[in-house]
């Protein structure tokens, strides 16, 4: 089923603030086996010019993906979420995410395409801090694979 093109450009309300904690950053860095000191040691992060420990570059996806999930599960959009796979992912950083940040995500549907029966949705997640400054933009391409013939 082709998706409704009128959803292109639709922006969803900002998510509640997510507070980035030092120990959550540590947990994530350990899970990807990354021992860079800027993720766990405040002094090491400060020596690089950061006010607190910073998060690895892909950390913010946990937050933006949850926000994107609300978009793709919008019943009016009609995407078959059970068939969704992750196609592309891109981040553009204004600055690194850091401990103490209170981040909100505003998701916008950038594009909707249909290719060989697959529904393709591009979602932009703009991540802002408490001061309203843009921190990072995440671009997520989700592909709902065509349903098999019955």
């Amino acid at each position: 089923m082709a998706l409704d093109q009128s959803f292109v450009g639709r922006t969803y309300p900002p998510t509640p603030a997510y507070e980035v904690g030092r120990e959550k950053i540590r947990e994530f860095a350990e899970a990807v086996g990354d021992s860079h000191p800027a993720y766990v040691d405040v002094e090491a992060a400060r020596a690089l010019g950061h006010p607190d420990v910073i998060a690895p570059p892909t950390f913010v996806f946990s937050i933006t993906y949850r926000a994107a999930g609300e978009v793709v599960q919008d019943p009016q959009l009609g995407l078959d979420y059970s068939r969704v796979v992750h196609g592309d992912q891109k981040f553009s950083y204004v600055r690194p995410v850091r401990a103490g940040d209170r981040l909100t995500v505003t998701s916008t549907i950038e594009a909707i395409k249909s290719l060989a029966g697959n529904d393709i949705v591009d979602i932009r997640g703009d991540v802002h801090d408490e001061a309203g400054e843009l921190v990072v933009t995440a671009l997520t391409k989700l592909v709902a694979r065509a349903a098999e013939e019955a």
């Binding site: 899970a31 086996g33 990354d34 690089l48 950061h50 910073i54 892909t58 949850r66 592309d88 690194p96």
Partner: protein
């Protein structure tokens, strides 16, 4: 931002130190917990087979997180990464044994841009297959 590599010291074609990242089922369980992505295709073999996968596969975002380490370890400051994007082309299949899979990542400077920025193109391989496509990062050097 304090990269330890200077813009003047790199050329188009400069190779970054390559790295290999092992991934086992235990790695995936740990990543699921840390990231909050509990999709069963990343830890439940029965489910993965039912949806047509060859076996449990790694989170694409796990592979993306590993690949950028070639850039952040080289640049010295992870905060120097300005832009990072990948396409998930092939899954990283993770068998249920003590060896798991190995993600091999290499990178080289593909372009020198303005303002001390360089573009690094990454290649991520697993089992002889390219698992990421269009894998590129823009980094601000010193």
């Amino acid at each position: 931002m304090t990269a330890k590599v200077s813009y003047g010291s790199v050329e188009v074609g400069t190779e970054l130190p390559a790295q290999s990242f092992p991934v086992t089922r235990a790695t995936l369980v740990q990543y699921a917990g840390a990231s909050g992505d509990f999709n069963p295709i990343h830890w439940n073999e029965k489910f993965a087979l039912e949806v047509g996968l060859p076996d449990v596969i790694a989170h694409g975002m796990f592979t993306m997180a590993e690949a950028i380490r070639v850039v952040t370890d080289w640049a010295g400051d992870p905060g120097a990464v300005i832009d990072y994007g990948v396409r998930f082309t092939k899954p990283v299949v993770v068998p249920n044994d003590d060896k798991g899979a190995l993600i091999e990542v290499s990178g080289k400077v593909a372009a020198k841009l303005e303002d001390n920025l360089v573009r690094v193109d990454l290649v991520a391989m697993c089992d002889g297959k390219k698992v990421l496509g269009m894998s590129r990062a823009v980094v601000r050097l010193a």
